[in-house]
Symmetry: C2
Subunit: 144 residues, 2 copies
């Protein structure tokens, strides 16, 4: 289990009780999820592991995990929600080319630090962020 992410502590701090369902679901996420996932992928894992968790409970639990900051929603291009397991704290941004749609990840500590400072300035207790930069990559630029 990811040491930085103490489920029980997070639940207690937010007055949620620590149930079997929540522990099981957290375990599935912590064990299988690298970056992001959607609800149905997660439910397939639940089915594969034959866990006693219904779709309804999964959704209710995801909502709680989001509230206590264990996961967060991210937007891709399809209709349903995707989630990111925050505990990995994999801070990174993306550049996206408007033409070829290529997505490139990057890390930049200066910006990460500034963003954290800005969060506090705005009165927000920082959990995570996403940064997406839209533009045109060199290749597409030269092909115009």
């Amino acid at each position: 289990m990811n040491a930085s992410c103490n489920l029980i502590k997070h639940l207690k701090e937010n007055n949620f009780s620590c149930t079997e369902t929540r522990k099981l679901l957290f375990h599935v996420i912590d064990e299988h999820i690298q970056h992001h996932f959607d609800a149905d992928e997660l439910f397939q894992l639940i089915v594969a592991d034959d866990l006693p968790i219904s779709r309804a409970s999964m959704y209710r639990t995801l909502s709680i995990f989001e509230t206590i900051g264990i996961i967060r929603k991210v937007q891709f291009t399809d209709r349903h929600a995707h989630y990111e397991y925050i505990c990995h704290r994999n801070l990174h941004g993306h550049t996206i080319c408007t033409k070829c749609k290529q997505v490139v990840s990057f890390h930049n500590q200066t910006i990460d630090k500034l963003i954290k400072e800005l969060a506090e300035e705005q009165g927000l207790s920082y959990f995570s962020h996403t940064l997406e930069i839209i533009g045109m990559c060199r290749k597409c630029l030269s092909e115009r």
Copy 2:
């Protein structure tokens, strides 16, 4: 109308015809939208202005506007899509509270500048960006 955003040109370049519905909808967005909006807000504007545009057409048109780069989807924490009117080039970030879901916009020139520099460093000809900071707001933090 925003001079930087020529609807007819955008449509033609992408082989979409220039219909009354598309012109009307663009006008509504260009006139009323400051930052971001969701489909229902937009439909309320359509109803208020008594425009002959159905929900179905609005969704179909939004999808086209997204394709031709007039708007883009942004993710907040709720289920439905939010859009951002790109033409305003209104660079700003959002803070989002994990608990109460409140979204607050902010401007920060230092970060905007850094992000532009970073884009060039990454080989991207900068067009725009989105920055979303996730955390818990003071109010929710104090209510825990």
